[in-house]
C-alpha cells in the first residue's frame, strides 16, 4: 500500500527534479542521495502538497533549497572541474569525442552568461519549466522572463557562432599554409 502510494504520488517528481538536482550537485552519487532525501521529504509532507492546487512551485523550491543546503555542507571547489570532466567523459553513453567537445563548449557559453540569464535558461530549457513555475522560482514577472529568455537565447547562439567561425577560420588558414 505504502509502496503503491509512493510510486503514484511521489516518485514521478524524480523525473522532473533530476535535471535541476544534477545541475546543482553535479556528482552522480550526491544527486541520487539528494533525490532520495527530497522524495522522503515530499512523502512526509504529502498531505501539505495535496492542499496546493499547483504544487510544482512548492516542490521545486523545496528541491532547490535542499540542494543548496547540501552544497553549503559540502562546498567543493572541484565541482566545476568535475563537470567539465563529466562532459568530456561521456563515451559510455555513446557520445563521440567531437560531440563531447561541442557539448563542453555550449556548457562553457551558458556558464558565462549573467546569473539571472543562466538561471532562467536552465529552468526553461533543461528543467522544462513553464513561465508560472519560473516566476515562482525567480520572482520575475512573465513579460520580464520572456525578455530575459530571448536575450539569453540570442547570446548563446551568437557566442557559439563566434567560436565556430573562429575555429573554421583557423582551420582554413592552417589548410592554406599546408597547401
Amino acid at each position: 500500500m505504502t509502496a503503491e502510494q509512493f510510486k503514484q504520488d511521489i516518485l514521478p517528481w524524480s523525473r522532473k527534479l533530476y535535471p535541476m538536482v544534477k545541475r546543482l550537485l553535479k556528482n552522480e552519487v550526491d544527486v541520487q542521495d539528494a533525490l532520495q532525501d527530497i522524495l522522503i521529504k515530499l512523502w512526509n509532507k504529502r498531505e501539505n502538497i495535496q492542499q496546493y492546487e499547483k504544487p510544482e512551485a512548492y516542490v521545486l523550491t523545496l528541491c532547490r533549497n535542499h540542494c543548496l543546503d547540501v552544497l553549503k555542507k559540502k562546498r567543493d571547489q572541484l565541482v566545476d572541474a568535475a563537470e567539465d570532466y563529466r562532459l568530456m567523459n561521456l563515451p559510455q553513453q555513446g557520445v563521440s569525442h567531437e560531440a563531447r567537445e561541442k557539448l563542453a563548449i555550449v556548457h562553457q557559453v551558458i556558464e558565462q552568461l549573467p546569473d539571472k540569464y543562466r538561471e532562467v535558461i536552465q529552468y526553461r530549457e533543461i528543467d522544462g519549466l513553464g513561465f508560472d513555475e519560473i516566476k515562482q522560482m525567480t520572482g520575475f514577472e512573465v513579460p520580464h522572463l520572456r525578455v530575459i529568455l530571448s536575450r539569453a537565447r540570442v547570446m548563446i547562439k551568437e557566442e557559439i557562432r563566434k567560436i565556430y567561425d573562429y575555429e573554421q577560420r583557423t582551420s582554413r588558414q592552417a589548410v592554406g599554409k599546408v597547401l
Binding site: T2, K7, L11, Y18, L35, Q36, V106, I126, D127, K157
Partner: protein, 149 residues
C-alpha cells in the same frame, strides 16, 4: 512541419514568445536538420543531454525508499524490546535498592544498640568496686551495707 514553419517558429523562439509545446515541436524538427540548423542542433543537443534521466532512476529511488521504510519498523520493534528490558532491569534495581536500604537500616539499628550496650557496660564496670581490693565491712543489714577501703 516544414523549413518555412520552422524558421517562423525559430524567430518566435528567439523573441521568447514560444510556449513549451511549440519549443518541443521545434526541437524535434531541428534534431533531424543538422545542415540547416547546425547551431540550434548543437545547443538543443546540450539541453537534451543535460535533461537526460538515467535508466532505472525510479527503480533505484523506489528501492531506496522501501529500504528506508523497513528500518523504521525494525527500529520500533527494537525500541520496544530494549524498553521492556530496561524496565525490567530498572524494577530489579529499585527492588534491590529498597531491600538494601532496609538491611542497612537494620544493621545501623543493631550497631547503635550494641554501641549503647557497650557504653552502659563500660559505665557499669566503672562504678563497680574492684573485686580484688580488700574492704572492711563496717555495717551490714538486709537493706544497707557500709564498707571502708
Amino acid at each position: 512541419m516544414n523549413k518555412e514553419q520552422a524558421d517562423k517558429l525559430l524567430e518566435k523562439y528567439y523573441k521568447g514568445e514560444t510556449e513549451l509545446d511549440e519549443e518541443a515541436l521545434l526541437k524535434d524538427f531541428i534534431a533531424g536538420e543538422e545542415e540547416t540548423f547546425a547551431d540550434e542542433q548543437l545547443i538543443f543537443d546540450y539541453y537534451k543531454e543535460e535533461a537526460k534521466i538515467p535508466e532505472g532512476l525510479e527503480d533505484q529511488l523506489l528501492k531506496g525508499f522501501m529500504q528506508q521504510q523497513k528500518p523504521n519498523k525494525t527500529i520500533k520493534l527494537h525500541w520496544m524490546r530494549y524498553a521492556s528490558v530496561a524496565a525490567v532491569l530498572l524494577l530489579g534495581v529499585v527492588f534491590w535498592f529498597s531491600g538494601y536500604q532496609k538491611h542497612q537500616q537494620m544493621l545501623a539499628a543493631d550497631e547503635q544498640f550494641a554501641l549503647m550496650e557497650r557504653a552502659l557496660m563500660e559505665v557499669s564496670i566503672g562504678v563497680q568496686p574492684p573485686e580484688n581490693d580488700e574492704v572492711v565491712v563496717l555495717f551490714k543489714d538486709e537493706n544497707l551495707e557500709i564498707i571502708a577501703k
